[in-house]
Symmetry: C2
Amino acid sequence: MASIRDIAKSTGLSISTISRYINSSGYVSKDSAELIQKVIDEMDYVPNRNAQAIFNKKSGSIGLVIPSLVNPFFSEMATIIGNKIQDDGYGCVLCFTEDIPEKEEDALDLLKGYRVDGIIVARGRSVDKIQKLSIPVISFESIISDEIITVSADNYQGGRMAFEHLYEEGCRKMIHIKGPKGFIAPEERCKGFLDASADKDVAVEVLELSTDYLLEEDLDKALNQVDFRMYDGLFVFNDINCIHVISYLRRQGFAIPGDLQVIGFDNSYLSEMNLPRLTTIEQSPQEIAQVSYHCLKDLMDGTCRSTANRIIPVKLIRRDTTGST
Amino acid sequence: MASIRDIAKSTGLSISTISRYINSSGYVSKDSAELIQKVIDEMDYVPNRNAQAIFNKKSGSIGLVIPSLVNPFFSEMATIIGNKIQDDGYGCVLCFTEDIPEKEEDALDLLKGYRVDGIIVARGRSVDKIQKLSIPVISFESIISDEIITVSADNYQGGRMAFEHLYEEGCRKMIHIKGPKGFIAPEERCKGFLDASADKDVAVEVLELSTDYLLEEDLDKALNQVDFRMYDGLFVFNDINCIHVISYLRRQGFAIPGDLQVIGFDNSYLSEMNLPRLTTIEQSPQEIAQVSYHCLKDLMDGTCRSTANRIIPVKLIRRDTTGST
């Protein structure tokens, strides 16, 4: 690939002149500038970002750390954030954690190695390590410290809404399929659901899954522990699991919503693709991605006014898996 | 963040000694090495990858260029490849193209700027630019040149299988919903479907979509042009669109497979989530990701034996949207 040396050679100008032009870091005569640009175009030369990173003490890279892209909520969020990063001329260094703290720590070290200008960590677990980062960082969902902004949907309110919707639709024997321990979002969704049920003096059951990404047979095993004939309402902690559960229930001969009303959480594109279409609580990936990225940019620019957490409102999306028939 | 200067200061050793140790590029006494490592651990220092990129003439970065993560096939593929890149200690610079050639060219320039050690481009369209890259590159699906390895599922054979399966299940009035122009995979799937139908002297219809990511209302508009009562078999070019089409047909009152047998393409996780479960042609993201990444590593290591394209076999997955009842 063409290097700054090649440009110098072919223009007959010094490397320092070329470098001044490329980094607009000093005087270059109009004629030299034109000549350099002409040769750059001919050679299809692209400045070395690694050199510029050192020269400018800005890497031009932003790190995005997420568990995986299997959950469509994360693939939507990553697509929106990644495009914003790219459109602003930054490079997006993508790292997966698979929710494994050690893997997350290695990912953060990798991003430190890049001297990235900022990091968005989704569902981070290595709290100490994130706290110690001397890099602007935004945390999606996880609470890290008072200094670090957490962007999160209003999961507690969403849990309340899920109960209240099922209750209004006439459900009185409800069960919640809860996400795995150790993550704040499923805990908050569950707490909201339970608090709202207590307000109405309605007892509810909870089945907690051991992980977010159960293989179908393992999910079926977990579900086999429950006699769903005992219930008239079901709240599942996210859409992708909710759709698996509905598929299980229909294979068992349950009519949805006739025998059992079901509500999910996310409003990812999956929720509209299936029949019956999923009633769910929406946490908008557009809004979450937008707020997360803009907060990060403000931190990077030093224009961030407040480190208060940003709680994104959720909203009930009524479709066809609830509603007394 | 701790810098090599801080290490030098705190150890009382010279920057060049520290650098020799970090890059294992020369002699460092045992005592100095121990002292340096101790301070590195204390300061949680991570070497600057940008400096190492220049020093070693290897950036330690690999570029992954994909249209978007909305199609679950790409999100599965990106998750597998991204994890492999990360597990090998490389950084994954992710770029989106949204199938826009100009955006793809900017993405490739960005990766050139990083001096990435290799690139995997999925469904690339800027053929000239990819050809000119002086970086090891693997192309998924798109044919670039004889020198550049294309990894692709056997889309032609998959199209033939789709027809033959529907035919064996008794379909004689078939329609294919084809992906947008300008991409080789949907063209090949369509060609295979048409050739197989010609072999059996069965006339088939084709409806070509204008883009891969139609909004639901636009897809419905396209589908409204077709009187599906005229057909008994339907092949849709990928699973995500196939599931939308099935949802549309069921809203129109069609029984699947009773009135119309339907087969998709991909076998993405979506195909099992829905009821009825999707009969489809599998192109394994695991296998495609594996082969793509290993070919790239071989190119990077200079151990690549052949630039022949790698065609990944496809296979019929029978589920519940086909089968004469």
